[in-house]
Symmetry: C2
Subunit: 168 residues, 2 copies
Amino acid sequence: MKKVSFGEMRCSLARSLEIIGDWWSPLIIRDIYLGLVRFDDIALNLGISRNLLTLRLRHLVDGGALRRTAYQERPVRFDYQLTEAGEELVPIILALTAWGDRWAQPAEGQPIRFLHKTCGCTLTPKIACSACGDEVKASDVRALPGLGGAARPGTMVLAKRLAQATRA
Amino acid sequence: MKKVSFGEMRCSLARSLEIIGDWWSPLIIRDIYLGLVRFDDIALNLGISRNLLTLRLRHLVDGGALRRTAYQERPVRFDYQLTEAGEELVPIILALTAWGDRWAQPAEGQPIRFLHKTCGCTLTPKIACSACGDEVKASDVRALPGLGGAARPGTMVLAKRLAQATRA
DNA sequence: CATCATAGTTCAATGATTGAACCTACTGCC
DNA sequence: GGCAGTAGGTTCAATCATTGAACTATGATG
């Protein structure tokens, strides 16, 4: 996967990235979400090498984002489905897609549009605060040290800085 | 960086991932957002090797997420700031952090909390539809082919499937 | 004059990723 | 009965990315 493991870092972002933080995993999850649930379909669609796809799928299953189920016996054939955790990743991936539309759009135009079924509009995802419902902007947020904070790789300098900023 | 380039894919998600889709970039952006704007601070905080940090920072600057500015002359010293595009990445990263809190939390508890200054609550980011304001769930969204859709690596099978599903 | 600080660069060793070929059931057709 | 086709992988060598450690350059400070 990579040389340094993020799993040990005391940082929720790093732990998310440990599961879906490589180049292919978000694309794999998007494909499965869009109905490409079989090994060969995903491999062909993405152009990923087959052994790496095996690795990634296994890692996503182990990480709790995917479920591997047999859709037939004799011969046994498997496909992949999103778990609850995996489904909660989808809106985040949509938000990232929207960022790409806005800041790195291909010359040919938006490749895929998303329809929000409940309101009928073309979806533009925004990140909102679940408490007040307002859109969250970088400048409206302040970081505070949590209970599990510690000076370790991943939060080496940060833990100290946050503690200082909070005292001041 | 990697062997296959996503930049050529006609897929906004792939284009986003081309810029921030590796293991380190989201962590780098978070660090800069939290005030770790200097090379040595980031290197120490994350434990990333210095040559790779150089590469990643350069890539993020080229991709438009970061800006490199001299904060002093003699000797010239640089630090890194988020651009507008980079700031719009922050809420997405917070959403990913929240996912990690929910599905892969360390035993010690949440390492960092985020305060939403405008409402005073601890922030739990949700993805919402900008049109109706409702929270977006995977099941409420339907994908439609956009103008730039095409059968290429990254959307090889998908483009056909979407076109079929739309006709039906 | 020596030491420290900052923002990197260079290089060998190690690990991840690719692409192509192979494998193991089965099914369907002649 | 034999042969091609389908699906979900595995195996292997070659290539590329990443690591870790040492080094550079420019100046400030004692």
